[in-house]
Amino acid sequence: MANDEAQGVEGDLLVILRHGPHGSSWLREGLDAALVAAAFGRRVTLLFMGEGVTALMPAQQSGPLGQKGTSPTLEMLEMYDIDTLLVEAEALARFGLRAEGLMLSARAVEAKELSVLAATHSLVLTF
């Protein structure tokens, strides 16, 4: 039942990223956790939720004071075999974004699929 709706998303760890870049270290810490888990062989699913979708904006830059952003880390995900990237469809709409315009290939997920994702991963970390 639930597995059918999840459209083949299979993973051990679901990392939910709910913060945008630059404003806090939440996004960076979530990505670090995902990379470490992947380095230890876990299958990681990333879900960008709420303002977290802005992490995938193209053409991000370093901060006004030269702070490093998170987009270089995102570009490393593929090297760690983290290729299941999901974005909350409602959040995309709120920010006026489309999944096709993001810096990495990500699939938009509808609200009803979110609970399935949380239920089908054995571990969920929220950042």
């Binding site: 709910r18 913060h19 945008g20 870049p21 630059h22 404003g23 806090s24 709420g50 303002e51 802005t54 904006m57 193209p58 053409a59 991000q60 830059q61 370093s62 901060g63 006004p64 702070q67 952003g69 959040a91 709409a93 709120r94 920010f95 006026g96 974004l97």
Partner: protein, 96 residues
């Protein structure tokens, strides 16, 4: 005239409502840091009625890749513009 400064995203935090509630009819609102998310998409509707008094920090928009999405109703200011706004205001009030 007071300058209210908001550094939280209206997508995540309800503090923008407190800022709006505390604003007088001539007060200005400047969005900085994650607050600049309020200048894009449907989020800018949360600040309806502030046209001409709603500002966003240019550097923060650019760092986040959000500058191309900034609504035309929002006045974009760089750091010098931020300083000018504080000069023109009697006081500043921070919302975080």
């Amino acid at each position: 005239m007071l300058l209210h400064v908001l550094n939280r995203s209206p997508a995540t935090s309800e503090v923008y409502r407190q800022a709006l509630a505390a604003m007088g009819p001539d007060d200005r609102l400047l969005l900085i840091e994650d607050g600049v998310q309020g200048a894009v998409g449907t989020l800018v509707a949360r600040f309806a009625g502030l046209e001409g008094r709603l500002y966003a920090q240019e550097e923060d928009l650019v760092a986040r890749g959000l500058a191309p999405l900034c609504a035309p109703s929002v006045v974009r200011v760089d750091v010098e513009g931020f300083v000018l706004l504080t000069e023109e205001a009697q006081r500043t009030v921070s919302w975080f």
